[in-house]
């Protein structure tokens, strides 16, 4: 049975026949079809099952608002749940399967829920499943979760690429129906930068779905002509398959372009979809309107459709939903549908019009003042039962029912900034309110101008007005003659009476009965109604149901619809793949990767790398025969302390501070004093937040009276720079000081260990004196290395050894590290990574990130004396608050295990030697720990209440998380060379 319901004509390419599969069966369709139109052409009405009752469902609409016809598209790692058959373009080999049905779409066991619907009313689950208590999580909820949900995912990584982009325009036109096309022609001819976006793969909107004439051309021909002209204009960008999903602040719109969804195979390196951020100066919403259904008993059977959708399928896709199509309407649109169907040779058994004074119909029987009170057919409509004006009932045989309850303007985007729609009594619909997103205007049907003529005029004049605001003058285009039918509608929402349930929200199975129950239980506010019944919460976001629900509630409360409330819409306009919103910055490219100057060299050495912020740093350098990382790290530490080691410290933030007030400025941003630091000297500095908490430490080297180089921790480089700019621009605007980051400009290496000087002497140029006298501890200077290359040398030490940090322009960093290693060969120099660096700083009790955790003060860190009381600096005043200056508060101390073989663990909490182990007896915590190869045991540093006065005390380090408690002795945090003789050597 090949395309038994395919009619002649239509905007499909019959030259290109396509095969596809649905629910395990093969079908044929044509290029230009959607999955829905192709299935209808093949006589298939059953396309899905509803969410709760698993009722058989067919297609209701011909657009993205479809609530029923949801399928799983494609296979394997491209399996795509909840795809609307109405917008899925047909392609050769398309595979779609039914979802939320078991074992099959035709026989769905879960349809038994429908039998129990009387027990499963709105919100029933709030009232039960509470007994016995444990059953909720163990029995009821698992069953409910299993039964709920729609489509399923493959659990495999999505193989497709997603992209992002940025566009700029004077005028963004959303929707390419008659209104949008008229607007685009007007604006395009004026030379303004125009973007015309439409979600469909064929622009023209209703012009492609109606048989109306524009001037002497058919609607679709006129559209094609207009599009051809627009395509020829460089200043106009046509974006088909592009849905504007959100209206954000100040003229920024989000738009999703579906680049490859209509292709059988993905093209390598090309994105599946693109998220465009459109910067518009003005925007026109020309999104048209959506027809709305009428609720009546069993109005959810496959074959019950919106009248406009029926016209779309018949006129655009040449696919008749059935051989006999009855019509149920409260307005003239139903009659237009009848005319179109009859013209295409489809039998129209009756036009059922709720209006007693309905106009006559040619070629079909008119049942004026009649209502549909029931439908029949298990998997598809076979007949409808009608209550005639005279009260008699009559059964009418039909395979489809075209329903028209009037039109709702597509005003969704006008609500994205919380704008509220207004009620329009003539349309019996909400139209855009006054508070629109800045820069947006609305025209055509979206603005309640439903006739084609008004749409065209609205688009043209709207564009002129919008451009006029921008100082761009556009001249009027001559709009063609078109129908200008008045609105002839009798507000009618649902048929009273009828034995069975009448559906309001088809997908979520919300019926008129549920709305009544909500009202009965006082869930009368629209938001309560939605949340209690789940009305409008389905994947169609209530596009076809919200108005109906509101109208039913209005009847129940006896209020008008606007009094009852409005519902506003939120982004996205239609559901968007999460991958599209993510774009390219995922997986390995989630963040940029920052590499140090020695990265390639370290790779050659077989280094193991670790993430430090966005940086990749060498963690350790395994040598032949080393089987465990500890072996490598221990060796690096011991060798550095014994002879000499080299470590890439480029990642530390570097900020150039210049100006005649540079020293004064540093006095403000550092807790300790810098004014008197001599040129050629470095000083350790501690930065506080204004609240008195220490947040970063580093050094400042004075290269000249008016020039300092400040270093920050790797983690805080950006923050420290921002804070310094804040101080410079906002707090001390008249200081002569200039800042610029030079973090990336200089490759910097620490050379540490007893032989550090000997090694460096072989690298620095002969005229540079780095003897202890010529270049003592904390000296700094601009020197030359390796035969004249400019470099900076600082005699500072994180390891506690005799140490220097040497910096050269980054492009020479690779060469310098090789030179240092070569020069160090005779001393068996070792490169060391962040692990060894960490071990050595813990052995010296230097604070780092784990200690600067955002809650610790200089006092806690044992640096209280550094905070100068003689000068103003950020943070000193509030650091004196009682809560922060407790003399017996937390202090940074060291810890050693009482039994040398036991581990000290960072994150363990400190408890007194005896007594209970609990939060109330907590004495502090260990922040950093490591195995010290020099002390031959593991050690740690951390914060202990009144720590300074508890040296020698034995405590318990409790780690219940990992089931261990270790006895530790409180010691000075300076485990090695407490007098600091080595670094002065």
């Amino acid at each position: 049975m090949n395309q038994i319901n395919r009619l002649a004509g239509g905007q499909i390419n019959r030259a290109k026949e396509l095969s596809f599969r649905f629910d395990g069966r093969s079908f044929k369709g044509y290029e230009g079809d959607t999955l829905a139109s192709a299935l209808l052409a093949n006589g298939e009405r059953l396309m899905g099952r509803s969410f709760k009752y698993h009722r058989p469902r067919g297609v209701l609409t011909a657009g993205s608002e479809e609530p029923n016809a949801l399928v799983e598209l494609r296979q394997g790692n491209r399996q795509e749940p909840n795809t609307r058959a109405t917008v899925a373009e047909l392609f050769e080999g398309l595979e779609a399967s039914a979802q939320n049905a078991w074992p099959s779409l035709r026989f769905d066991a879960m349809a038994v829920n429908d039998r129990f619907s009387n027990f499963l009313t709105a919100g029933f689950y709030y009232k039960t499943f509470m007994w016995p208590k444990p059953f909720w999580e163990k029995v009821y909820e698992p069953i409910i979760r299993k039964a709920a949900g729609l489509g399923s995912i493959s659990f495999e990584e999505d193989p497709d690429l997603y992209d992002k982009g940025f566009l700029h325009c004077d005028l963004l036109i959303i929707g390419a129906g008659p209104t949008g096309l008229a607007a685009a022609l007007t604006a395009g001819r004026s030379g303004a930068r125009v973007i015309l976006a439409d979600e469909d793969f064929r622009m023209g909107g209703r012009l492609n779905a109606e048989t109306l004439a524009l001037g002497d051309a058919s609607g679709s021909d006129w559209a094609a002509e207009a599009l051809a002209e627009l395509a020829s204009l460089d200043n106009v960008r046509l974006m088909t398959r592009t849905t504007v999903i959100g209206a954000f602040d100040h003229g920024i719109y989000g738009a999703v372009e579906r680049v490859q969804d209509h292709l059988p195979q993905a093209i390598a390196d090309k994105p599946r979809q693109i998220l465009w951020r459109i910067y518009s100066r003005k925007a026109m919403l020309c999104a048209g309107a959506m027809e709305r259904p009428i609720a009546f008993a069993d109005n959810d059977r496959p074959g019950v459709m919106l009248a406009s959708a029926v016209r779309s399928y018949v006129n655009r896709w040449a696919a008749a939903p059935a051989q006999e199509i009855a019509i149920f309407t409260n307005n003239d649109d139903g009659h237009r549908t009848a005319a179109d169907l009859i013209a295409r040779g489809v039998k129209v058994p009756a036009v059922i019009d709720v209006r007693a004074d309905a106009p006559a119909v040619v070629g079909a029987e008119l049942l004026a003042g009649a209502e549909v009170i029931g439908t029949e057919g298990r998997l598809g409509l076979t007949s409808v039962t009608v209550r005639l004006a005279n009260g008699q009932t009559r059964k009418i045989k039909c395979g489809a029912l075209a329903v028209s309850g009037g039109w709702n303007p597509n005003l969704h985007l006008t609500c994205h900034q919380r704008g509220r729609p207004q009620w329009n009594a003539e349309l019996a619909a909400f139209v855009p309110g006054p508070d629109l997103p800045s820069g947006m205007t609305v025209a055509g049907a979206a603005n309640g101008q439903l006739s084609t003529a008004r749409a065209l005029a609205g688009g043209a004049t709207g564009a002129i007005a919008a451009l006029d605001d921008l100082g761009i003058s556009a001249s009027a285009i001559d709009v063609p003659q078109a129908e200008d039918a008045p609105i002839a509608l009798k507000p009618f929402w649902h048929v009273q009476g009828g034995k069975s349930r009448a559906w309001v929200d088809l997908q979520n199975d919300v019926t008129v009965k549920d709305v009544k129950l909500a009202h009965q239980e006082n869930f009368v506010s629209v938001e309560h109604l939605k949340r209690y019944t789940t009305l409008g919460m389905a994947t169609d976001q209530g596009k076809t149901s919200n108005m109906l629900g509101l109208a039913v509630m209005a009847e129940l409360t006896g209020k008008s619809i606007p009094e009852t409330g409005t519902t506003i819409f939120r982004p996205p306009y239609t559901p968007v793949p999460m991958g599209t919103m993510a774009g390219r910055a995922t997986g390995k490219h989630f963040h940029p990767t920052r590499k140090t100057p020695s990265h390639h060299w370290a790779e050659e050495q077989g280094a193991v790398f670790t993430e430090v912020g966005d940086w990749l740093r060498a963690q350790w350098f395994p040598r032949q025969g080393e089987t465990h990382w500890r072996q490598s790290v221990d060796r690096e530490v011991l060798q550095t302390r014994k002879s000499v080691g080299v470590c890439d410290v480029t990642t530390l933030g570097k900020i150039d501070v210049q100006g005649k007030d540079a020293a004064t400025f540093l006095n403000k941003v550092y807790a300790n004093a810098f004014a008197k630091l001599p040129v050629g000297k470095v000083r350790y500095g501690l930065m506080l937040r204004e609240d008195g908490i220490a947040y970063d430490d580093g050094t400042a080297a004075r290269l000249a009276e008016d020039h300092f180089v400040v270093t920050t921790t790797t983690a805080n480089a950006v923050l420290a720079y921002r804070n310094m700019e804040f101080a410079r621009q906002c707090l001390f605007p008249d200081l002569d000081v200039q800042l610029i980051s030079t973090t990336e400009a200089w490759a910097q290496y620490a050379v540490a260990g007893p032989n550090a000087r000997k090694l460096l002497e072989k690298v620095v140029d002969a005229d540079v004196d780095i003897s202890n006298e010529g270049f003592p501890f904390m000296a700094c200077g601009e020197i030359t290395v390796c035969g004249g290359l400019r470099a900076r040398l600082f005699r500072i030490s994180f390891s506690g050894e005799l140490a220097y940090e040497i910096a050269v322009p980054t492009r020479y960093g690779d060469a310098l590290v090789r030179a240092l290693m070569e020069a160090g060969e005779e001393f068996e120099v070792t490169p060391y990574g962040t692990e060894a660096l960490g071990v050595m700083r813990i052995e010296k009790g230097h604070a780092a990130g784990n200690e600067l955790n955002g809650t610790t003060t200089a006092l806690n860190l044992g640096l209280g004396r550094m905070v100068s009381k003689k000068k103003d600096c950020i943070g000193n005043t509030l650091s004196e608050r009682e809560g922060l200056s407790d003399e017996s508060g937390l202090r940074l101390v060291g810890f050693k295990p009482v039994s040398a073989t036991e581990p000290v663990t960072a994150g363990a909490h400190l408890m007194n030697a005896s007594g209970e182990i609990s939060a109330s007896t907590d004495q502090g915590y260990i922040t950093s720990a490591c195995f010290s190869p020099n002390l031959g045991c593991s050690i740690g540093i951390g914060f202990l209440k009144d720590g300074a006065n508890r040296l020698g005390e034995v405590l318990r380090a409790a780690n219940p998380l990992e089931g261990s408690t270790v006895e530790v002795e409180v010691v000075s945090a300076h485990f090695i060379d407490p007098e600091g003789e080595r670094l002065r050597a």
């Binding site: 509470m130 069953i143 299993k146």
Partner: protein, 478 residues
């Protein structure tokens, strides 16, 4: 492997039955119950049976919610369901007026009536109850706090969640599915260890997982191609989710049953303050006198308290939240990315509920902007690449009362008889039961509840911040 996993999540941890058995199990239980009731209704035993089966709400007799009640109503056309709460006219004076008909305000009223026998209590809501953050959050409940001052409070709150449904006779779907906070660096593991230990020491539960432990729970996370590899996670099994709207409705119903007047569409426009004492509130429905006034209005805290001339240590920011289209079971618990802004759970209805960071700028507009959406999804897809083709259905925004240290306030104000509850940042939902209880305790007894002593408005003056994140006095960083 994924199929096997899919099956496991499909049937949940405890129920390992084939599809059909599960299905017919449900049918059978409903079926037999209905038969039972039909039979019993003939014998006239229904009322007695109902009251004794009404699940810890005997006091409510036949009004109580229960499975049997549903069957009874179903068989009698659902005529018997009464309004979940009344819509009374405001009285001229109440002993205690609560400003704010959100989760915290309604819970406060419920506990005032149920635990502190406060006779005349009103809740004033400018819109419709439950329309603020209690209806806009991502439904997570947990007690995984580090600092003294927070621990005992959230510990109590989580214990109250565990008994909530029986207490309220309302199924708020408290579901302790477990919360997993991932760690990606050694420093994060150290911090997680410190936190996990603090949790255990405070009487909460925590487990430190390694990479394989995480893989066992969530095999489909990005383990192979991650920018920031998953090195483990801190698992809090008693954490989970709760159906947020139901919390507001359950408290409202419970409070209403106990005589509390819930007055919707009643906006407070000012306070009547004479010689340093608050005597009541001016509202859009006239003056309402009160012995005590408690304000629990979350994101609107500054605007409301400003009417009493008070400046607060907090800012209002918008937090966006997102839900995907409905899916068959994917994510059993709650998972939180440690290298970006993303956390996610799956509702019983099937939607993935997720969120990330706030929009960063002060705002009272319940909507956000695109950069944060992109940031959240970049993080989400980086963590769970299998979600690429799942569609984002809806986004919304809630206004967070972001405090200066990320911790809340439950305290008196300098104005006699005026009390304040706020500063919940985006952690307000999980605090609802304890917040209500402690605020009720404070107002009823004029002494702070022992677990909420630290939540003082003047703690910054004395330097006693409760800063879990260590971000200092910048609300948008907490």
């Amino acid at each position: 492997m994924f199929k096997k996993y899919a099956l496991r999540v499909l049937f949940g941890k405890f129920v390992r039955l084939p599809n059909s058995v599960v299905l017919w199990g449900l049918v059978a239980c409903l079926g037999s119950l209905s038969v039972l009731v039909v039979f019993l209704s003939k014998s006239g035993a229904v009322p007695a049976l109902l009251s004794c089966f009404s699940m810890g709400a005997i006091n409510e007799g036949a009004m109580a919610y229960s499975g049997l009640r549903i069957i009874k109503e179903a068989l009698s056309g659902h005529k018997g369901w009464k309004p979940a709460w009344r819509d009374p006219e405001p009285k001229g004076h109440y002993d205690i007026v609560i400003v704010g008909g959100g989760g915290h305000g309604l819970a406060t009223a419920y506990y005032l009536a149920s635990r502190y026998q406060t006779a005349r209590v009103a809740v004033l809501e400018k819109g419709w109850i439950g329309g603020g953050n209690v209806g806009r959050n991502t439904t997570i409940v947990r007690s995984n706090y580090l600092l003294d001052g927070n621990q005992s409070f959230y510990n109590l709150s989580l214990r109250m969640w565990e008994d909530l449904e029986q207490d309220l006779n309302y199924n708020a779907m408290v579901s302790q599915r477990g919360i997993l906070n991932l760690v990606h660096t050694d420093a994060q593991r150290d911090a997680a260890r410190r936190r996990g230990n603090a949790m255990i020491l405070a009487g909460d539960d925590a487990e430190l997982l390694d990479t394989d432990g995480v893989r066992e729970l969530y095999p489909f996370l990005n383990f192979e191609n991650a920018r920031f590899p998953i090195k483990g996670g801190l698992l809090h099994r008693r954490g989970g989710t709760v159906r947020h709207d139901a919390v507001a409705w359950g408290y409202a119903r419970g409070a209403d049953r106990r005589g509390v007047d819930i007055i919707q569409n009643c906006e407070v426009t000012g306070f009547k303050i004479e010689s340093g004492k608050c005597l009541g509130v001016e509202t859009t429905r006239g003056f309402i006198g009160a012995g005590k006034v408690g304000v629990a209005v979350a994101g609107s805290s500054s605007r409301v308290m400003q009417k009493a001339g008070l400046r607060l240590p907090l800012e209002s920011h918008v937090l966006q939240a997102f839900v995907s289209e409905g899916l068959k079971p994917v994510i059993p618990g709650v998972i939180t990315y440690g290298a970006g802004h993303f956390y996610c759970s799956q509702s019983d209805k099937g939607g993935l509920v997720f969120g990330g960071d706030i929009d960063m700028y002060n705002t009272y507009a319940q909507r956000g902007n695109l950069p944060v959406v992109e940031d959240v999804l970049e993080s989400g897809i980086s963590l769970i690449p299998a979600l690429g083709r799942v569609r984002l259905l809806r986004s919304w925004g809630g206004i967070m009362d972001m405090s200066m240290d990320g911790s809340p306030f439950i305290d008196r104000t300098p104005i006699d008889g005026l009390y304040f509850n706020g500063g919940w940042c985006y952690g307000g939902f999980k605090a609802t039961p304890a917040s209500g209880l402690c605020f009720a305790h404070l107002m009823a007894t004029d002494t702070p509840h022992e677990v909420a002593r630290a939540y003082r408005l003047d703690r910054f003056r004395s330097g006693h911040m409760i800063d879990e994140k260590g971000q200092g006095a910048q609300p948008n960083l907490h």
